[in-house]
């Protein structure tokens, strides 16, 4: 597979919905989590939804997504989004909500405005948890994209797995499975290391 270039080609097509879905989650998910953390009205409305989404086996929704959006790229991107979004939103929200109240009080005592409290205390404080959310979200995204490729239309790495399995070429199939596991594990681990470098535990707020 590696020699004939089919593996590289497969990853090119697998990675596309993953990246698009992850970027959407990164912007909208983090943004919404922040909004939820800052506004009690938004929290009241959406927290129960996200608590359910986080606990629900979102993979079950993928066939529904296919039913609505067909078998194209949109469905695959959405499969990534539905799996990755809940953890990203929830982590951003918790990061905001867990801000040390004493720091907020300090900022107010030194005449910080609400905007300054958010920009200089709450957001830097939440940054580490947001990053954790993105890392966990990406892990879910990998699951999402593989499920999409297995369930929706066989493309990319999902296609390699399905195809080699159907022709009983098990060594090739296992190689495909192992490669996606390896790539996901290495990526997530690298992000974990980056996270510890960017946000050392002792410099996070408590």
């Amino acid at each position: 597979m590696t020699a004939d270039g089919s593996l590289a080609k497969a990853y090119l097509s697998t990675i596309q919905p993953l990246i698009i879905g992850f970027i959407i989650c990164g912007i909208i998910g983090v943004g919404f989590g922040v909004w939820m953390g800052l506004s009690y009205a938004v929290e009241w409305f959406s927290l129960p939804i996200f608590l359910i989404l986080q606990a629900a086996p979102m993979a079950a929704v993928v066939p529904l997504v296919t039913y609505i959006y067909g078998i194209g790229l949109t469905s695959k991107v959405l499969a990534v989004v539905v799996l990755a979004a809940p953890v990203i939103v929830m982590n951003s929200y918790k990061g905001i909500r867990n801000t040390n109240p004493s720091l907020i009080q300090m900022c107010r005592a030194f005449l910080g405005t609400r905007t300054q409290v958010v920009a200089k205390i709450i957001l830097p404080h939440a940054a580490a948890m947001m990053f954790t959310g993105l890392r966990l979200g990406l892990a879910m995204g990998f699951i999402g994209v593989v499920i999409a490729e297995l369930l929706i239309t066989p493309t990319g790495i999902g296609d390699l797995i399905t195809y080699h399995s159907s022709v009983a070429d098990f060594p090739e199939m296992f190689a495909a499975v192992a490669s996606i596991i390896l790539i996901a594990a290495v990526t997530i681990h690298a992000l974990g290391r980056l996270e510890r470098r960017l946000f050392p535990p002792e410099m996070r707020g408590s």
Binding site: F110, E202, R204
Partner: protein, 255 residues
């Protein structure tokens, strides 16, 4: 106290949403340029009272007047030193000290210069680029004190600043605090639960009763700080008398 008080409390009461009444009818005027201490049994609402003066908590009843004006929020004339230091864990000592000025929009060069001056005064010059987690409790509180000094407020509110600092560091810190304040015309309102600390530092001690806290007695230790060394003060007759007198009052609220 014939001079006008710089901070005046008029019938301050505070009842929390839980129904707990923390303070009742506290009225008192804090004299300008003095170090006044709020002292009382634990749970008497001294920290709550200080935060009300700081404008961080609204009182349920009553008014706070600062320099002849009624206030209902924090203001430039008051700076706060927190019990838990409240330092930004992701910022260096320098940025933490300059943070009050940063919030006021003072240009970077200028605020860092002011911050460096006060970091020097509290003896932390070597730690300018350290992060809070690399410092001891006593050093962290020096950062908190330096931050309060940079904004040049007339009134400094200190909420049990030494409570998370060990005994030896605390003594040294108390002496340094007196030195730092001696040549500045600052009014300090200080909360503590330590009778010795209150007597050693204060010109005036406001004793609060048990919850709901109200002014129980005013004590002036009359310790001659000018001519005596720290160790002489701790053996001074007035100092020891005041400690005893406070203890006699506070004892009633215990047990």
């Amino acid at each position: 106290m014939s001079v006008d008080p710089i901070v005046e409390l008029k019938g301050i009461g505070k009842t929390y949403e839980t129904g707990v009444e923390a303070l009742r009818e506290v009225s008192f005027g804090f004299p300008v340029g003095k170090l006044s201490t709020l002292l009382g049994p634990s749970g008497c609402g001294k920290t709550t009272l200080l935060k009300i003066i700081g404008g961080l908590i609204p009182p349920t009843t009553g008014e706070v007047w600062v320099k002849g004006k009624r206030v209902d929020g924090p203001g430039v004339e008051r700076a706060f030193v927190f019990q838990d230091f409240a330092l930004l864990p992701w910022a260096t000592v320098l940025r933490n000290v300059a943070f009050g000025l940063e919030l006021r929009g003072v240009p970077k060069e200028q605020r860092l210069e002011i911050a460096r001056k006060f970091i020097g005064e509290v003896g932390l010059t070597a730690f300018e680029s350290s992060y809070p987690h690399q410092l001891s409790g006593g050093m962290r509180q020096r950062v908190g004190l330096a931050r309060a000094l940079t904004v040049d407020a007339d009134i400094i509110l200190m909420d049990e600043p030494f409570s998370s600092v060990d005994e030896q560091t605390r003594r040294k810190f108390q002496e340094d605090l007196i030195d730092l304040l001696q040549h500045r015309q600052k009014t300090v309102i200080f909360v503590t639960h330590s009778i010795e600390e209150a007597t050693y530092l204060s010109d005036l001690i406001v004793l609060l009763s048990a919850r709901p806290g109200t002014v129980s007695q005013i004590i002036q230790p009359n310790v001659d700080r000018g001519s005596k060394s720290a160790d002489e003060i701790r053996r001074d007759k007035n100092y020891l008398d005041a400690v005893d007198k406070i203890w006699q009052v506070l004892k009633k609220y215990l047990g």
